[in-house]
């Protein structure tokens, strides 16, 4: 840029006659630079619009492709007379307003489309983050007692002394589209271990006056491009954020050990075979667990995906979002989910209803999950099956588990004839 600008540095000392030709050349240089800057800003503006237009159009059709794949999977399921939740637009409680099945606003189950979870009704006034707080007119604030550490004592390319390009860790805490915590390792080699790191984050009781925690949400960066190997917590008072603290797997009870469909649904690091529950190429993760006095958590990251550029191997991993929370839930709640068979099919009868809940054991499933099947019986909603249904609705009731866990319904699969 400095080569393009015409204005030159001058060092005047007016001790004699003033030379107007130099004055004239100076204002000409100034004028040319201004014209250049004006045009440059216009070009940047146009380039931005061009880039936005391109990305927007690609994005719109890629989104459509994802919806298309979803429809095809739905069709595959239908082949085996199975239906499940494919879109949260299936939550159809509004059709039942004014009927005996009506769900009031306070008892309506909460849902989160990012993490694909349906859970107990959330009381927002009693729910808060343990890492940040919001201030009207200021936005989100990460307090100065936020503390996080990285341990780089693992085999691989991410070790002390490696060439690193990174952004601040608190970028993962702030919900802003231009803020992401990324750690890029530039390495001349690509060992089989890739890059590994352990992130330690202190949970400060100062924000809420309590260490009670029952939810962790994280969005690995790049999305679907990094591995979350384990999530553990400590209850040590004043933790040192190192290996010397006592670390307990978040899934310490080993829920669903060995069930491959539970990978990503249970916090990794709790199964009997180390690494078997690791979430490879992880999407967004959310875990709800019993209210626990947590003073710090640690998350082990692995990155074996890399780019190559200028003879180097580039490993990037991090988080676009991280929140450790205490969420207050009502002890029970309901919602209604609509199921429609593929075109041309009708549902004669529901033969099986299978909830997919991974944060309570199977032994408690009967306590935390109940359902009723609702039919459209000649324009009236009823529990009596008229046969040959174009739609059915499942009324789901979730109850808090004995250990205070708010159950997370990941899916509800029905089979029909």
């Amino acid at each position: 840029m400095s080569d393009i600008l015409k204005t030159k540095k001058r060092d005047y000392k007016y001790n004699g006659p003033v030379d107007s030709s130099d004055y004239n050349s100076r204002i000409e240089e100034n004028y040319q630079d201004l014209v250049y800057l004006y045009n440059k800003s216009n070009i940047v503006d146009t380039k931005l619009s061009d880039a936005f237009e391109r990305v927007l159009k690609d994005h719109a059709f890629l989104s459509n492709a994802i919806n298309d794949i979803s429809d095809r999977i739905k069709a595959l399921e239908s082949e085996s007379n199975t239906l499940s939740i494919h879109s949260f637009s299936q939550l159809d409680y509004s059709s039942f307003i004014g009927t005996s099945f009506a769900v009031s606003g306070t008892e309506l189950l909460s849902f989160d489309p990012t993490y694909n979870i349906i859970s107990l009704p959330k009381v927002s006034s009693g729910s808060f983050s343990k890492l940040k707080f919001g201030q009207p007119g200021v936005g989100q604030i990460v307090p100065d007692y936020f503390k996080a550490m990285l341990s780089l004592s693992f085999a691989g390319v991410d070790t002390n002394g490696a060439i690193i390009d990174s952004t601040p860790m608190y970028n993962a805490i702030l919900d802003s589209p231009d803020k992401v915590w990324k750690r890029t390792v530039i390495s001349p080699s690509n060992p089989i271990t890739g890059a590994q790191m352990m992130l330690y984050v202190r949970v400060s009781p100062e924000i809420s006056g309590s260490s009670k925690t029952n939810a962790i949400k994280l969005n690995p960066f790049p999305a679907f491009g990094a591995e979350i190997y384990s999530i553990e917590y400590t209850t040590n008072t004043d933790p040192s954020l190192s290996n010397t603290d006592t670390w307990i797997p978040l899934n310490s009870r080993g829920y669903y050990d060995g069930d491959v469909s539970a990978i990503g649904k249970v916090p990794p690091g709790g199964w009997s075979t180390a690494g078997a529950d690791s979430v490879k190429n992880s999407g967004p993760l959310c875990y709800q667990f019993p209210s626990t006095d947590i003073t710090a958590i640690r998350i082990k990251f692995n990155q074996k995906n890399y780019f190559t550029e200028l003879g180097n191997y580039i490993y990037t991993y991090g988080l676009s979002d991280l929140d450790i929370r205490y969420d207050k839930f009502l002890p029970a709640g309901r919602t209604i989910i609509k199921y429609t068979p593929k075109t041309g099919d009708v549902i004669e009868e529901i033969t099986n209803v299978t909830p997919k809940i991974y944060n309570v054991p199977l032994s408690q499933m009967g306590n935390v999950f109940e359902y009723r099947i609702i039919y459209d019986n000649g324009g009236t909603y009823s529990l009596d099956n008229p046969g040959a249904n174009n739609h059915v609705w499942i009324e789901v009731t979730l109850n808090v588990a004995n250990d205070t866990t708010a159950p997370v319904l990941s899916d509800l699969i029905i089979q029909y004839n």
Partner: protein
């Protein structure tokens, strides 16, 4: 400004600086009036450029918002379905398929797309494992 195309007049818009080329010959005592005017116009031009750059900066953030979104910005997002999509006012899309109609263009944020992909991966895993 249009979003799905660029208007030609925008591409070739050139704005003139206010600053003027006032050539001078110093044959008399220097005139502070013209020097002050020059200085003031220069300042106005710099302010205009700064304002333009600030607008571009905000524009980048606003446009980024459409794609990246934010976990807690549900109030700003159009609640068309799940609360993490942005509706672009006045823009519709038609995707060719039997029985298709024109729909309001809804931009899914990365979080929503990630959520949809995670759901798909989970369902494929269930199908693969015969669940």
């Amino acid at each position: 400004m249009a979003i799905t195309f660029n208007k030609t007049e925008n591409k070739y818009r050139i704005r003139e600086p206010l600053f003027q080329l006032n050539r001078t010959k110093f044959k008399s005592p220097r005139n502070s009036l013209s020097e002050n005017l020059e200085s003031n116009l220069l300042k106005t031009d710099f302010s205009r450029i700064l304002e333009e750059l600030t607008t571009i900066d905000l524009d980048i953030l606003n446009k980024l918002n459409y794609f990246i979104g934010s976990v807690n910005d549900y109030d700003q997002a159009a609640k068309l379905e799940d609360g993490t999509s942005y509706a672009l006012e006045g823009i519709s899309i038609y995707i060719d398929a039997p029985g298709a109609t024109e729909n309001l263009l809804e931009v899914d944020t990365m979080n929503k797309l990630s959520g949809k992909l995670a759901r798909l991966f989970y369902k494929v895993s269930l199908l693969e494992n015969g669940n």
